[in-house]
Symmetry: C2
Subunit: 546 residues, 2 copies
Amino acid sequence: MRPRCYTALHPFLKMRTTLRKLLGIGLVSGVLLTLFYWWVPGDDSTVDIGTRHGDTIEKLLEKTYKDILSSYPDISYHIKDNVAGHLALNMCVCETEKETIRNRLPYSNLLFPRVWAQNLQLAFLGNNEDPEGVKSRRSQEYNGFRRRTSTPSDVLIVAEANSPLQYPTQGVEVRPLKTIIIPGLGLKENPRSRHMVNLSAELGVFDVAATVDEVTVIGAGEKSMVISSPLLLSLNRQLQFVTYTNTLFHPSTADTVQFATDRHRSVFTIKVRHGIIPKLYNSRSSGEYNISALVTIATKTLLRYDKLQELIDSIREFYPTVTIVVADDNQHPRPVTGPHVEHYIMPFGKGWFAGRNLAVSQVSTKYVLWVDDDFFFTASTNLEKMVDILEKTTLDLVAGGVREVTGYTATFRHTISVDEGGDEGDCLHIRKGYHHAIEGFPNCVVADAVINFFMGRTDKVRQVGFDPRMARRGHLEFFIDGLGSLHIGSCSDVIVNHASKIRLPWTKTDNDKAYEKFRYSLTTDERKASDEVYYFKNRFKCMSAN
Amino acid sequence: MRPRCYTALHPFLKMRTTLRKLLGIGLVSGVLLTLFYWWVPGDDSTVDIGTRHGDTIEKLLEKTYKDILSSYPDISYHIKDNVAGHLALNMCVCETEKETIRNRLPYSNLLFPRVWAQNLQLAFLGNNEDPEGVKSRRSQEYNGFRRRTSTPSDVLIVAEANSPLQYPTQGVEVRPLKTIIIPGLGLKENPRSRHMVNLSAELGVFDVAATVDEVTVIGAGEKSMVISSPLLLSLNRQLQFVTYTNTLFHPSTADTVQFATDRHRSVFTIKVRHGIIPKLYNSRSSGEYNISALVTIATKTLLRYDKLQELIDSIREFYPTVTIVVADDNQHPRPVTGPHVEHYIMPFGKGWFAGRNLAVSQVSTKYVLWVDDDFFFTASTNLEKMVDILEKTTLDLVAGGVREVTGYTATFRHTISVDEGGDEGDCLHIRKGYHHAIEGFPNCVVADAVINFFMGRTDKVRQVGFDPRMARRGHLEFFIDGLGSLHIGSCSDVIVNHASKIRLPWTKTDNDKAYEKFRYSLTTDERKASDEVYYFKNRFKCMSAN
């Protein structure tokens, strides 16, 4: 009786040999291909990415910090008001400037512009049918934002005094999943029968790149490693070879390392991140600045083709080959042509910031120059000066001046600051003025917001972006969104002219009237949209300005 | 004889009193107005922003670090190859995988995809008429980039052992031009006749928020302050009130503080920066996800209006009101209409990434979904799943799978890493695969590059951007530009279908032929442009992939 398997295989065994070989190869190939489809290299571990890492360490550090601060309760002190008054209390309040005699003088508003404050919370929630819902959603969105942006490398760590531990407190970095030697580890204590240190981490493992005689290493390759030796010098030599390998992947985070003896503990962080990938531009220019290779001019147009054409003609007088990008959301678009002119047609009325965002999204040169469609160039519109300051300093953006037909040149320089305000949101402060002058560039200063005639590094301007939610109006919103990421300058000697806005009613064309109606009549919805941007999007409770 | 001034003023004095008053007021007003035009609040100091701050401290720290590392030369060690081999040497080399027996097996490329490497330096400079000029320009651009992006808070600092100083090593921040109390300062030494510490900074000044009896403070309000007392406890109480005020404006920098006694010195940094301003979206949805309020679909089209219409129709079957943004660079654009469809017309052939950048620049919802114009939705194209993972984790972008007509679903998961390579540039490594699975989301993993069907946080996608310099082709470039800033996932259970690419030659329409000719025939110029992006823009010398 043949075995069952033999009976099953019988037809196969009866086939000719070559056919069998072919079928065999086919079967093996099929298996291999199936394996290939399903097998993709990857770590089989599962990671929870819904929560932040490092919470345990943070609580530990908080407790240590509280202990430090609560010492010396018996020693009294006398507050120094002029200093204590400047301390940020994390609870900013929304206050208009009080009435004073100074405010009541004639022309006082010119010399001492009064500060007004708007309580955004009242303004936005007051008109809303579901204020509690809005507050709750904003809080939720903000928590998600904090979860994504906070990092263990911002947590307060205090170094213990009189600790025998030597360790790096800053500057240790490793690229994700890579290995480094941890620099600067050491133990400086009196001789003992056995010197011992331990290291522990959360997102990686330790090892040693070299071993030293008479030193014991336990836990090499793990998250917790102990090094000990009767000889202090040998232990310290060993500590020069301690390595850290990041094993839990994250593109940008930090691991908190504890380095301790039996009686002392130190804590430091290792940043886990890629290096910043540069975005460099090959401008192919040497000697004088080749404006066409370095700069693209960007603008948005609506209902003012005549002024736009004047702008383009005036640019061509001085910069015949510079590329001009035009974003156009007219209802009935007309061709805008010419060499080096790029015309983009948008849905009707899509909006001001949408148009600005579109225009800068198309720029392929190192710098982008923003102009309004009713500007025009003159001999004072010296773009080389703007390029020069951007090439030679750390500025990301530099504005010029806009000269009105009256001769008055506006620079709209403002400084911006934000005070923390707790759960209700922060307080935004906008003041006329600038921070300081720039050495080597007379007529130039540093500020936080400037006028709408500026040249910026294309990638930095795009990174901040012009929020398409700002449909009719918007200017400061760009600078608020850019706070902290843009280093901004303003030079009063690079001037563009502004086509006259001063028109007697009977001289206005139909175009002018249509434009004014569209541009300057803010509906209630649009005012609400503006409040929403400050209250919800940027999470302010108060805004003050002068 | 009347004085000359009287003679000069005579006509004025003869005028009537009221007229005199009016003229007087006019004169004063004129002076005030002139003053107003010229006086804008601002610090009169001039600051050099062409160079980095903190160079002096860095040199000092470098020297300290060198001393630490050169100790113990007499103690020998034995290298542990398997660990030392993983250390980043900062001098990556460009190597194709060696020929081995494994590589020669049939199907070896399926099971063990071979790694190829391209020496970008040779490829790009080899075809260039001015290689030295290119290298020099790239080096110059890179130096400018480093000057703008490096900060004193990345410099290596090592804490001294057995120092009586207690101080914060991490987590101290102040907003520009504001004041904080420096937490955690202390001195723990044996009794002496006089205990003394000094503090010094470069970008700000010290003071005390409160004074303590029997403690002398010299230099309050200056960059260098000395605190001394015969009583150690009082000195420590005083140290609890030390304040730091940033005085040299910069939107994002760090000040290096030295805190020392006569025999010991510690160094720590205070970050000077604005808080990150959030960009929150009020999606007005609760309970189920309102896709139209949360997501905008973006695509770019060229020569495939028929496929585009099929895509739009298929979307409408499942998401009737979601906004669809279409960027169109056809030579002869045709209307693309319908409710919630936004059509943008670009200059002919402006390009693939330019179109992608345009489309995402117009999105005003929290998330943006990228689709190619030849995709179509089915019941498996479950956008709610994508929104769910983005809402609940720290992912910035999640891709799905693209199903071909054969039934094969591609996810194109890759990991990316960069090794430092010195002055010649870095080495870019791209490998098929992913990092790890995601807890709570079966079928989802974390990777660094994914397929072209993904949903992302609009602001994060825009911050990375699609470089308009990539005209014909481009995919990985987006993920390379995003390395370190995007946390990327891939879920194989959200699927979009791909209209068939498999066409027998005689069934191709004129459209298909025109598209293939345009899309797939890379000219020499375009190949050079691609090399330029990797070699110059991102500063790589080598690229390897499998």
